[in-house]
Each structure stands twice: as structure tokens, then as C-alpha cells.
């Protein structure tokens, strides 16, 4: 029983971190209507930007997170303008494949600059706390807190600001939004900037208490997709819930399978949800 509670605690914390890039992925899908595999590369971009600010420039982790968001967001806008905008008339599949090509380029650009060796952040190594018989790692709890804060800020942005509401309008009904004078290109850039910025935060959080390397996004991408798809691809609250769901599923799976199979859980979840309820938990029914 204690083990079960421990796994649930771990799952909620890792799920929070997973939710962030998942929301990014869903945001981009909601506005641009394609599965953007380059999220993996931008997770790495954010991770390295954050690492650079923290480990090389010596600034605290909070500043590094902001840097991860900003750099990944800007790189996202830049790469999408240069690489994917010329394809805007293409099918969503072509865009998806193009995003894979873009992802390969991003990861290797990072590899070129930083090599393959894992890098660690300059944060102190802390022992786990014992809370009500459960072991909670301070860094993990911190990461979850950062993740939840980021999600909260995003929700506020989407519900309270004019730009945020405009973006939701575009996501819900692009034709109507266009007729109301909302500039689709600007919304697209905003979606990419936000989405990739969130991916960047996610990448940094994944590496914050362990290590980062150019493939950090690639290793997580299946779980990120699973979270977005389970929650309903294109639904932002769905991606948040999906993140927690996948996080829990991965941790609870340790009761049945060895830890090395964790990566397969995402795949199983995707298969299950697409078979049973293709629109996901909160997604709108679409063709």
C-alpha cells in the first residue's frame, strides 16, 4: 500500500512535468492543425538554454526556466517561419514529416555545439524528504511546482487576455476567427512561440534533477504525444490531464513490468485511447 502511494506521488510529480510540453504540442495542433514532432528538439533547446544560463552564467534556476521558455519560443518561431511556413499549403502529413526533418536538424545543431555528453545543472544535491512515510525528492517537487505555475500562467493568459482569447477563437473555429479580423499568421506565430516555449520549459524540467543531452526531447517524445493524444489532441486542458494520466500510468506500471519498459507505456496508452475513444478524454469529436 505504501508502495502504491509512493508510486502515485511520483506519478503526479512526473506527470506535471510531462503535461507542460504536452500542452505545447496540443497548442500547436489546435492552431496549426498538424502533429509537430519538432517539439522534441525544442525541448532540448530549452534544456540547453536553461543549462547555459544556470551552469555557465551562474544564474539561479528560476531565471534559467524563464530563459528556457524564451529561447525555445523564439527558436520555435524562427524555425517555423523559415522551414515550415513555405509548406503551409501542404497536407498535415507533409508538415509532420517536415517537422521530423526539422527536429533532426535541431538536435544535431545542439550536438554540434555541445557534444553528446550529459550536462548537469548547478543546483545542490539534496536528500529526499520523508513526508508521511513517503519519500519526496525536493527537486522533483520543485519541478512539479514550476510546471503547475507555468500551466496556471498559461490558463490565465488564455482566459483573461485579449490575445489569449483570440488564439482560442482561432483554435475553435479558424474561419470565423478570420472573418472577425484576427490575423491567422500572427496567431500561428503566437501558438508556435507559446507551444515551443512550453516545450523548452518541459525539456529543462526533465533534465533539472538529472542531466541533459541533445536527445533529451527525443526520449520523452512518445510520452509527450501520449499525454496530448490521451487528453484529446488539440485540447489544452486535455493535455494537462493527459500529462498526469500518463505520468501515473508510467509509475504504476512498475508494479507489473520492469522499469526499462516505461517507455512502452506511452505507446500502449496511445493505442488504447485511439481504439477506445479516438478523440481523447477532452477532445472534440472530429473527422
Amino acid at each position: 500500500m505504501e508502495q502504491l502511494l509512493q508510486l502515485v506521488a511520483n506519478g503526479l510529480m512526473s506527470g506535471a512535468v510531462l503535461a507542460v510540453p504536452a500542452i505545447g504540442l496540443s497548442t500547436i495542433f489546435a492552431v496549426l492543425r498538424f502533429a509537430d514532432f519538432a517539439v522534441a528538439g525544442h525541448m532540448a533547446v530549452g534544456a540547453f538554454a536553461g543549462w547555459y544560463v544556470n551552469a555557465v552564467l551562474g544564474l539561479p534556476a528560476g531565471v534559467a526556466v524563464a530563459a528556457a521558455f524564451a529561447v525555445a519560443g523564439l527558436v520555435g518561431i524562427g524555425t517555423h517561419e523559415a522551414a515550415l511556413r513555405p509548406l503551409r499549403a501542404a497536407s498535415s502529413l507533409t508538415l509532420a514529416i517536415a517537422s521530423i526533418a526539422l527536429n533532426l536538424m535541431l538536435e544535431n545543431a545542439i550536438r554540434f555545439g555541445f557534444g553528446n555528453e550529459p550536462r548537469t545543472f548547478a543546483i545542490p544535491l539534496m536528500r529526499e524528504w520523508s513526508v508521511a512515510g513517503l519519500r519526496i525528492a525536493p527537486q522533483q517537487a520543485g519541478n512539479a511546482a514550476i510546471a503547475v505555475t507555468a500551466m496556471a500562467v498559461l490558463f490565465l493568459f488564455l482566459s483573461l487576455t485579449a490575445t489569449g482569447k483570440a488564439m482560442r477563437a482561432v483554435a475553435d473555429n479558424p474561419a470565423l476567427a478570420d472573418s472577425k479580423g484576427i490575423d491567422p499568421a500572427r496567431m500561428a506565430r503566437l501558438a508556435v512561440g507559446l507551444g515551443m516555449g512550453l516545450a523548452g520549459i518541459g525539456g529543462m524540467l526533465v533534465g533539472l534533477d538529472s542531466a541533459i543531452d541533445p536527445l533529451i526531447g527525443f526520449r520523452a517524445i512518445l510520452s509527450v504525444f501520449a499525454a496530448a493524444v490521451v487528453g484529446g489532441f488539440g485540447s489544452i486542458p486535455g493535455a494537462a490531464i493527459g500529462g498526469f494520466a500518463i505520468g501515473l500510468a508510467e509509475e504504476l506500471s512498475l508494479l507489473a513490468v520492469p522499469p526499462t519498459y516505461k517507455g512502452a507505456i506511452g505507446f500502449v496508452a496511445i493505442l488504447a485511447i485511439l481504439t477506445l475513444r479516438p478523440r481523447g478524454l477532452l477532445g472534440a469529436a472530429h473527422a
Binding site: 509512493q6 536528500r127 527537486q139
Partner: protein, 402 residues
């Protein structure tokens, strides 16, 4: 479209036949005998899990080749040295080995470090009669049908694992938990530890983890639930760093022992002093204090040598001496003569220059290297080796009092 198809089809076949006809006309492959330079190569890990050690191997090889060339080369011919990065990955290694064997025409492939790489490349070597002088330790490699084209200067798994079992026994452990990444020697290690420790009443648990993960929390949680009083951290340097940090976070209080090649000074730097504190390491000792060891220090201008740079140095010396003894710059000559120079009934030599002079004068030699006396058994394993138990204290690796 039909016309184009036929023409293209003809072109494809024609091109293919052309490629196949070529070797009948041009002889390739066996370049390194007769005249022209003698060619030897290093297949080293410049990147990947073994990336910390490859550059040193290459350095040692190059230093030996340079000093031999300066003294006139071997068999009156210059030595050409090639090095390729195996990326500590068997697939990359196979392609790199092909280039070294087919394009560069090397007689020897030296200082392969990772066992997975050794397993993958050795068949290429014996098929092409190229000699492999290796560092990798998995027992299974020596047992392949390599027809003698394999020796290694690193004690193989069985020899090393006995040391870890002894550690558990001497420390009086009740429950020894063995955790390793998946390698060619993992299963063998588990088996040997069980065979040696269980009769002494020590409970043994084993776990294989994925070395590519950046967090081993779940695996360590599983281990902590069993509450062992001793733990073997059997990984390479990158995963040892991850392991040690998660171990510290989890607050593990028992004894930890690791391979010295994983718990290196860079490991201490990466994991941090607190996480590394108290970890024991076991290493095969280079023949510390031997003349070859001292000579190598001066040659590469380092005052601390690990066993791998010593082994690489010995590989280069042995390959060159065997070529001289055999009178040909081929892998077969190395194979047939390596034991005659490494364990011959003659005077001890500790470097290629002295050995070459002796061979030219018709004398027998017995090479004693920087990594040890270099005696090989018939299937290529090293026979004698000494081990040392160290412990990390205050950020430094010091010899442990047993």
C-alpha cells in the same frame, strides 16, 4: 515510360556488373606485406560511454609509432597509424572497422574498449586475418572461434567478478545487491557472484537497468525496498554519475562498490563529492612502478596513468614487435608471433625500440608492459593480474585499507 524503364534497368545491371568485375582486375585487401609502409590502427572510443578513454589510447599509440619511426621503423619500413572512432557503438564500430581493414589495409586493430564493440568487430578481424589486441572484458569474446586473432590485456569478467565477490565476503555483507547495465558480461557477472557468495550465506539480488536513462529513481527505489547492506554499482562512467546522485538523494546508507573504470576522477566531478564519498572501487593495477609504466609516463607527459592508456601502449609495442619477429606486416604474422615476444625465453624489454634491436640481433625477448607482464593464454585472455581496492574519500581515490 516503358523505354525509360528498360534503359534504367540495363544501366542498373551494367553498373552492378562493373562493380563486381573490378576486383578481378584490381587486387585490393592484402596491401600491408611485401613493401610499402606497415599499417596498424586504433579503433578507439572518442565519443559515447567510453569516450573518456579513447583519446589517451590514440595518444599512446601515436607516441609509440612516432618513436619507432624516428629510429628507422620496423623491418626497414615506416609505420602508418590510423585511428577511427567507434562511438562506443557496435554499428558505428563495424563500419569504422571496415574502413580500417578494407581501405587502410591495417594489420592490427588495437585497443577496442567496449565489449559490445569487440563482439561486433572480432568476426571481421578473423575473416580478414587482422589481429585484434583489445581491452574489452566479456568472457564470450575470447570464446568466439577467432583462430588466434585475439588477445586482450584486460582481465576478463571472471577474474574481475571474483574480486567483487571477495569484497562482499570480506566486508561481511548479508545482502549484496548487484546492479548493472546490460552488457555482454552482465549475466556472467551475476552468475559468478551468486556461485561464490551464496555458499557463504550472502543473499544476492540482481537488477539490470537501462544505462541511457537520465534518472534511475525507480530502480533505486526497488533496491531500497530490499534494504541490502551492500551494493555493486556495475556501470560505466555516465550511468554511474546518474546512479550515484540518485543514490545520494535516496539516502542509501550501505556500502557501495564500483568498477574503477566507471568511478573515475571525472565521475567524482560529475556526481559531486558528497555523492561519491565512500564508494569503493576495484581496479586491475597497472604494473605501477614497473619500468614500462615509468617510461610511459615520460612518453605521454602524464604523471597519473590509468590501466587503459597502459594497455594501449602495450598493444602498440606488442603489435610492432610481433611484426618484426614474424618478418611481415600482416595480421597473421602478429598472431603467430605475439606470444613469442610477450612471453619469450629471453631478456625482459619494456619498449619497442629495445625489443626491435634485440630481434634484429637474433635474440629472444620477453615484453613486460605498463599494464602487466602480458602473458596470454591460448584463447587470448590475460593470465596474471593484480587487483587493488580503492575508496573515494573527500573527492580523491585512495587505496582502501581492507
Amino acid at each position: 515510360m516503358r523505354i525509360l524503364e528498360t534503359t534504367t534497368r540495363r544501366r542498373v545491371l551494367g553498373g552492378g556488373l562493373g562493380l563486381i568485375a573490378a576486383p578481378v582486375v584490381l587486387r585490393s585487401g592484402a596491401l600491408a606485406q611485401g613493401s610499402g609502409p606497415v599499417r596498424i590502427a586504433g579503433l578507439v572510443s572518442l565519443t559515447g560511454g567510453g569516450g573518456a578513454f579513447g583519446p589517451n589510447s590514440r595518444l599512446a599509440h601515436q607516441a609509440v609509432v612516432d618513436e619507432v619511426n624516428a629510429a628507422g621503423g620496423v623491418l626497414g619500413r615506416k609505420i602508418e597509424y590510423f585511428a577511427e572512432d567507434d562511438e562506443t557503438n557496435p554499428e558505428a564500430a563495424v563500419r569504422a572497422a571496415r574502413k580500417l581493414i578494407d581501405v587502410d589495409g591495417t594489420a592490427a586493430i588495437m585497443s577496442v574498449w567496449a565489449s559490445a564493440v569487440g563482439s561486433a568487430v572480432l568476426p571481421l578481424c578473423w575473416e580478414n586475418k587482422v589481429m585484434m589486441l583489445a581491452i574489452c572484458a566479456a568472457d564470450s569474446i575470447a570464446q568466439m572461434p577467432h583462430q588466434g586473432y585475439f588477445v586482450r590485456t584486460q582481465p576478463h569478467t571472471e577474474l574481475q567478478t571474483k574480486q567483487f565477490a571477495n569484497f562482499a565476503i570480506q566486508q561481511g555483507l548479508k545482502h549484496f545487491y548487484v546492479m548493472m547495465p546490460q552488457t555482454p558480461f552482465t549475466e556472467a557477472t551475476f552468475k559468478i557472484v551468486k556461485e561464490l557468495c551464496e555458499p557463504k550465506g550472502i543473499k544476492i539480488s540482481t537488477l539490470i537497468y537501462d544505462a541511457k536513462k537520465t534518472s534511475l529513481r525507480s530502480e533505486i527505489d526497488e533496491m531500497m525496498r530490499a534494504n541490502p547492506d551492500g551494493l555493486m554499482m556495475g556501470g560505466y562512467q555516465p550511468d554511474d554519475i546518474v546512479f550515484a546522485k540518485d543514490l545520494y538523494r535516496a539516502g542509501y546508507k550501505g556500502k557501495v562498490v564500483a568498477f574503477a573504470y566507471g568511478a573515475t576522477p571525472q565521475f567524482i566531478e560529475g556526481a559531486g563529492k558528497e555523492a561519491a564519498e565512500g564508494i569503493y572501487t576495484i581496479e586491475p593495477v597497472p604494473a605501477n612502478g614497473s619500468t614500462a609504466y615509468e617510461r610511459l609516463k615520460k612518453l605521454v607527459k602524464k604523471d597519473q596513468l590509468d590501466t587503459y592508456i597502459c594497455q594501449a601502449y602495450d598493444h602498440a609495442n606488442l603489435a610492432i614487435l610481433a611484426i618484426a619477429k614474424g618478418g611481415a606486416g600482416t595480421g597473421t604474422a602478429i598472431r603467430d608471433n605475439i606470444r613469442k615476444v610477450s612471453d619469450g625465453p629471453g631478456a625482459k624489454v619494456d619498449n619497442a625500440l629495445d625489443g626491435l634491436k634485440a630481434i634484429a640481433a637474433g635474440q629472444e625477448i620477453n615484453y613486460e608492459g605498463a599494464s602487466g607482464p602480458c602473458k596470454f593464454d591460448p584463447i587470448g585472455n590475460i593470465v596474471e593480474v593484480a587487483f587493488r581496492l580503492n575508496q573515494i574519500r573527500d573527492g580523491k581515490i585512495v587505496e582502501a585499507k581492507a
